[in-house]
Point group: C2
Chain length 345, copies 2
DNA sequence: TTGTATGCGTTATCAC
DNA sequence: GTGATAACGCATACAA
C-alpha cells in the first residue's frame, strides 16, 4: 500500500477527487456530485464554476469508489473457460463474443472478456467474479463442477450460460438442441440413399458432443454398429483426420459420414480425397456448426447452422433482463438450428 | 440505488461483510482482515474462529471495496479498437491476446479483454479505463487521435501499445519493423529472378500498411512504377482479390507480387490461378504475417513471420514492469520478423 | 438550490 | 496479538 501511494504521489500526479473540484469551485462535494450525475436543481453559476474546476484540476471520476456506493459497475463479463488455443481456433466462440458485445454495447454496458484455462486461472477468475466488479456474467463454456459455476450460483450473480451444464439450477441459459440438429442432418444424409453411414464423434465429454451422437443414433433408428462411430477428443481438424482414417480402415465401403463439427468434417474430407474417394460421389459428408470451415471446404459442406452470434446476443439479453429485475426463464432459451445443404452430400 | 438495495436485500441475500464475520467470530474487523490477507501475528484460536465464521456466513471479499483502499485491482485490460468483425477474422489479434494472457496469467493478473468499435463504444471504454478498475492496459490497435489513447496518456495509466501510433509520447510500445520485413521479403523475391514485381498495398492509413509499402519501395531501389502498386483498404482476402485483378489488368506480364498480408496474398493467389497463371511458375507471390492463411494456401505462402504471440507477451511484460515501478523503455521494443520461405515464390 | 453527515466494505495505523 | 479508528472517493437522505 505505501508503495502504491508513493508511486501515485510521486511518479504520477495524484488523481483529483470530487473534493478537489469542490474546493476549486467553492462549493460542496454534494453539489459537485449532483452536477456529475446530471441532476436538476443546480444553479447555472454553480454548474459553470464546477465545470471549470473539473477541467482545471483534471478530474476524472473513480469508478471503483462509485461502484462501492451504487453497487453496480456498468460492466458485464464474458467468461471463456477453454484451453487458450481454442479461443483462436473456434469460430463459434468468436461469434458468440461478437453477438454478446453487440447487445451489451447497445445497452451501454462494457463487455469484459475473461479467459481461463488452468486451475490457477479458474481460481483467480472466480475471485474476480466474486469481487463485485461485474454486474453480470455470460458463461460460454462451463464444465461440470466448475468453480466458476459455483461462484456464480452461490453469489446469485445475474448470469446466462451458453449451453446447458448439468449442475446449474438457478441461472439462465441459452442453448441449441444438439440432438435435434444432429438427427435432422443425419436423416437428410440417409434420404440421399447412403447405406453405410458413420460418425466422427468429438468431445463426448461435453453435453454438445454427447447430444450430437444421440441425435445421430436416433436418426438411424436407435441401433448403430459401434464400429461405425469413431470417438475423438476435440472438435478439431486433426482429430477429424484421425477419426476418418479409423473409419476408413474399419469400413472401406463407408458411403456417408456425419462429423460432429465442420472442422472435423474438413479433416475427414481431406483424408477421403487423399484416399482416392470422391465427395460427394463415393462418400457424402456432413458437418455441424456452419462455421467458416464449411465454405472453405471443397466441396462446400452441408451442415447444421449454429446461430453463434444469436446465442451471444440472447445470452446478453438474458443477463440484461435480470438486471432489470425480471425473473429467469425456467427451462432455458432454445435457438433454431436450420440445415444448410451444400455440395458435400 | 434504492432499487439495487432492494434487489440485494430481498431477491438475493445480502452479501456478508468483514463486519459480519467479525461479529460472528467475536473478534474485531482488523483481525479478520489480517486473517484474510494471510498475515502473521494472529492466534490460532482467532484464526480458527474466523475461518469458521467465514464459512458460516458465506463471506466473500468485495474487490471493489478493496480496490478503493489498495488502489489496485489485479486486472489488466487488453483493448482492441477495431471493427468488431475483425476480431474474428484477424488471427494476429487472437495470437496477441493469447500471448498477453499467458504472461499476465503467470503473474497472477486477470486479463480483461475490451473491444470497441463505434464512437459510443470508444467513449464508454475511455470512461471505463479512467475508472481505476484496471491496473494497466495493453492497447492492440490504437488510432491516431483516439480518445482511448488520450485517456491513457492523461491518466498516465501503466500501458503498452502494440504498434507505434504517432501520437503517443510517454507510453511504452512493442512493435515489429514493418519496413525491414517488407524490404527483406521483396529482396528475396527479386533474387529469384522476377523482373516485374507489383504490390497489393492494404491499409495505407495505418503505420503498418504504409511501412510495408516503404519497405517494398526500398527493396526495389527507391523508385517503383505507381501502376505496379494496387492500394486496397483492408488486410482482407476479398481486398486481395480486388487488388490482384487490378494489377493483372494493368500488367498482364507481372511475374511477382508482394501482398501486404497473408489474407491479401490468399486472395491474390486464387485470382491468379483462376486467370490461368501458375504459382510460383508464372508468378511468385509473397505475403506478410505468417498466419494460418499461409499454410492454408496452395502452394503454401512464403511470408514474413510476425511474432504475434510474442508481441502480446512483450506488451504484457512491459506493463508488468511498469507496475513494479520500472521506467518505460524509451524508443520502444522491437521484435524480429524472420522470413519463412515456402513454395509460393 | 445547496451544504452536511453518513455509509459503501476494505485495509492500514496506531495504541493497547 | 488485538481492537479502535481513520482513510479510500463517491452518492445521497436530510436539513437548511
Amino acid at each position: 500500500m505505501s508503495t502504491m501511494r508513493f508511486v501515485d504521489r510521486v511518479l504520477r500526479r495524484r488523481r483529483a477527487t470530487v473534493n478537489d473540484v469542490a474546493l476549486e469551485a467553492g462549493v460542496s462535494r454534494g453539489t459537485v456530485s449532483r452536477v456529475l450525475n446530471g441532476e436538476r436543481y443546480v444553479s447555472s453559476e454553480a454548474r459553470a464554476a464546477i465545470d471549470a474546476a473539473i477541467a482545471k484540476v483534471g478530474y476524472v471520476p473513480n469508478t471503483a469508489a462509485r461502484n462501492l456506493v451504487t453497487q453496480r459497475s456498468g460492466a458485464i463479463g464474458l467468461v471463456v473457460h477453454e484451453p487458450h488455443s481454442l479461443f483462436v481456433e473456434d469460430p463459434n466462440i468468436a461469434s458468440i463474443l461478437l453477438g454478446a458485445n453487440a447487445a451489451l454495447s447497445e445497452a451501454d454496458y462494457q463487455m469484459a472478456c475473461l479467459i481461463a484455462d488452468t486451475r490457477r486461472d479458474v481460481d483467480r477468475l472466480a475471485r474476480y467474479l466474486s469481487g463485485g466488479l461485474l454486474d453480470g456474467v455470460i458463461i460460454v463454456s462451463a464444465r461440470t463442477s466448475d468453480p466458476i459455476t459455483s461462484v456464480v450460483e452461490k453469489l446469485q450473480l445475474p448470469a446466462a450460460f451458453i449451453g446447458h451444464p448439468v449442475d446449474i439450477s438457478t441461472s439462465a441459459y441459452v442453448a441449441i438442441d444438439n440432438v435435434a440438429g444432429a438427427r435432422e442432418i443425419t436423416s437428410r444424409l440417409v434420404a440421399t440413399g447412403r447405406k453405410k453411414i458413420g460418425m466422427i464423434a468429438a468431445a463426448l465429454d461435453r453435453d454438445s458432443g454427447a447430444d450430437r451422437l444421440a441425435g445421430f443414433t436416433e436418426a438411424l433408428g436407435g441401433d448403430v454398429d459401434p464400429s461405425l462411430v469413431a470417438g475423438v477428443r476435440l472438435y478439431s481438424y486433426s482429430d477429424g483426420q484421425a477419426g476418418m482414417r479409423e473409419l476408413l480402415e474399419r469400413h472401406p465401403d463407408i458411403d456417408g459420414v456425419f462429423a460432429s463439427s465442420d472442422a472435423v468434417a474438413a479433416g475427414a474430407l481431406d483424408v477421403l480425397t487423399a484416399a482416392g474417394r470422391s465427395v460427394p460421389g463415393d462418400v457424402g459428408v456432413v458437418g455441424f456448426d456452419d462455421s467458416s470451415w464449411a465454405l472453405r471446404c471443397d466441396p462446400p459442406l452441408s451442415t447444421v447452422h449454429q446461430p453463434a452470434t444469436e446465442l451471444g446476443r440472447a445470452a446478453a439479453d438474458a443477463v440484461l433482463r435480470q438486471l432489470q429485475g425480471e425473473p429467469v426463464e425456467p427451462g432455458g432459451i432454445f435457438l433454431d438450428t436450420p440445415i444448410v445443404w451444400r455440395a458435400s452430400a
